[in-house]
Each structure stands twice: as C-alpha cells, then as structure tokens.
Symmetry: C2
Subunit: 228 residues, 2 copies
C-alpha cells in the first residue's frame, strides 16, 4: 500500500474522522427554532446544516462542541448535553465520519449569532419550517426534539430557555411551545411552584396594557435536576 507524502498523520489501522454537531434550540415568536448554518464548503456546499466540526486531538467532546458552536455562530454560554452518536459508514461522502451530536438550549434574547469560519450564513429556522438539510442532520434534529419533549416532564431543562429573571407566563409559554398544546394556567403555576425550584425576585415587570407580572428566578442556576 502506497504512502501519501502529503498526508502526514499515519496509522497501522484505518481511523474514522470524528465530529461533533450541535442542535441549538431557542424559542422565537412562540415557536421552537433551531440554529443552522449555510455550508461554505463541499460536500453539501450552500446547503443548510447543523454547526459542528472535527474533534481536535487534545480537546474533549464537549469542549469541541462548544468551540465549534462559537467558531461558526459566535454563540457561547448555552446549556449543552450529549444527544446520540451517529456512525453509519456512508453518512458522509468524503470519508468515514462518526458524529457525536449534542443539543443546546438558550433564551433567544442573549443570542446574536453571526456567521464565522465555515459558515456562509447563520439563521434560525422554526421546527415546522426546516429547509433541506445536509447529511443526516434532519434525523439529528428530530431526535433532539424528541429528547427535549421527554425531558420537559421529568427534568428542569425548560429553564435552559429562560433568562435570569422571568415571569410564570413566559415559562408556561415555553412548556406550551415544546409540548405543542395549551396548559391550564392555575394547574401549571401550582405544579411549578410546588417543585420549589424558583422563587420570586420581589420585583415585577410591565410589558403591555395590563397588570405587571411578578418576576421569578431559579433557585439553583445552571443545574438541571431530575424531578419526581
């Protein structure tokens, strides 16, 4: 078997490439939305895809996901969790590439994504209006949405979409958007307050021609807890 003078990284056995891909969700205009980049390079040049890229040899997988997200979209400071690892042999036309996928959550207010490095363009897409996607990224997004729905019931992931201070109305909208159904206001408030995870800040916020809403904040910021 021939050597390749221009390919300096050599091994006894074939090695796959490994990437991370990140599905960053937020809620915009009462719809669940995911952040996509338009690919600058082949394959799938000009096609929309999840931000992501190759794992460096000295960084762990989570660091890689955060780095790629920052490099390609400028977004930092999100909640991040490993989703699933996709590894069908032909999922990338270039070579064997195994992708460790993550999903991320953030309140849309803190985000101002800007296209960087490999991205010609960055944009939010509502989940019910996704464009054609590169690779198996549609499958990745579908799985992430499913996981998000499930964790809504038995964990505190929903707080990943909230700013530091928020109203119960805003929180309820998040739950309703992800579950795709209206919830009873009284039952929702009773349920959330019984969890004893959030507390009043003592202040309130006026946003329209109506009564101001009390502001709340999470008791243990950063932590995603399992409930029940």
């Amino acid at each position: 078997m021939a050597n390749h003078p221009m390919k300096p990284f050599c091994y006894d056995y074939p090695h796959p490439a490994v990437t991370t891909d990140i599905a960053l969700f937020t809620i915009r205009e009462e719809r669940l939305a995911v952040l996509l980049i338009r690919r600058r390079a082949a394959p799938f040049q000009g096609c929309w895809a999840l931000p992501g890229g190759f794992v460096e040899m000295d960084e762990c997988l989570e660091d890689c996901a955060l780095r790629e997200l920052a490099e390609e979209t400028g977004v930092t400071g999100v909640y991040l969790e490993q989703l699933y690892t996709f590894g069908k042999p032909d999922r990338d036309p270039r070579e064997r590439i195994i992708s460790v996928t993550y999903y991320a959550l953030a309140p849309s207010e803190i985000l101002s994504p800007v296209a960087g490095s490999d991205a010609a363009e960055v944009a939010w897409f509502a989940m019910d209006a996704l464009p054609e996607l590169a690779f198996d990224h549609r499958e990745v997004i579908a799985l992430a949405q499913q996981r998000l729905r499930a964790k809504l019931d038995y964990s505190t992931v929903a707080f990943g979409f909230m700013q530091e201070e928020f109203t119960l109305g805003e929180l309820q909208k998040v739950y309703e958007t992800i579950r795709g159904e209206a919830l009873d206001k009284r039952n929702f408030r009773k349920h959330i307050l019984a969890l004893d995870l959030i507390g009043e800040t003592g202040t309130s916020r006026r946003v329209g021609n109506h009564r101001p809403a009390k502001l709340y904040r999470v008791q243990h910021p950063g932590a995603v807890l399992y409930i029940k």
Copy 2:
C-alpha cells in the same frame, strides 16, 4: 513531519481511534451482574474490562458492538442500546480513543459466554462486587446501571432479562433486583397486567414444592416500548 512506511493509513489531519464497549447485564442469583473480560494485551494487560474494540470502516456502530461482543465472549442475540460516548483525550494511554458505549440485556439462561480472541477469560461479576477495571469502564458501568434503573419505570426494558416464557414471580424478582427494594406482589401484578403488554400462554410451570405458576409471554417481542 516524517512519513511512516509501516503505517499505511494516512490522513491530512490527525484522526482519533473509535471503539465500542458493551456493558452486558443479566440477573444471576438475584443480583444484577455484568459481563467482563480479562484483557490479553496491553494496556491494562490482565485487567478486567468491558468487551469492546475498534470500529471497522464499513460497519455501523451497533454492528461493531454486536460483533465485538460475539468475538470476545461468544454472546449473541441480546437487546442492545446506545448509552453514551466517552472522549476525554487521555482516557487511553496508547492514542486518542473515543468510545461509543452500549448496554445490553439478556436472560442468563441463554448465555454461555466463552473467552475469544482478545479475552484471556470471561466472567460475570455482581454489581456490588466489581473488580478493578481498565480505562474508565467503571464510570461506563455506573452510567449504564443508572440508565437501566431509570428506564425500568418508563419503558419495558425489564423484558430484556426475561426468557420467552416467564412467570410473574420471576418478572417481579427482576424489578426488585434492579430497584434494590422489595415490591408488593398484588400491586406489582395489577400494575404489570394493566399495561396489557403480556399475556398468559395457557400453560404453567412447576419449579419446587409448591403450586405451579402461570406462564406469560410478551405481546410484542423485541420492541421496547415507552409507557405512560
């Protein structure tokens, strides 16, 4: 950078190696047990470890896990599910190795593991009596056990431990072993039968000096369903 004439697989950028590792659980003597192999080769030579090995370039990750399990332990026909991907840069002393881990379940009756290829020895270990383990495999097993406990409540994973026909007493023992607590017999039977997932075979089985037990089988073999 120098070429390596004896290392014929060359790339423009460094590539990590990718393995799968499998935590196969069963229930033996009313304890949750995991299948380990004693490593024949360095690193961690002579040390106990999870079965697993390098991903071939033309097989998907799940196929790799099943192949490695079969090659190293002779075990086939188990329920298999992806667990988590471990990728700290220094988790293997040889080179950067990313491991996609799986957990597997099987009734102990169908299993007769035998050491193969890379394994000097194969043995079951009760979860409360694990030996020193190679790499980060203790962490893998702990995570797998945690996942198993959680899924017991909202899925039908427990049937992965059952033979085709089983008694309600046997099924209850499985739940009790994994949860680590005794369950009320009447409530357990009521609950399981209400799920409408199993049905009587019409036959019964005698196993001791007492009344024979009705045999049941799952309505939809192979499927692991989510409940509630």
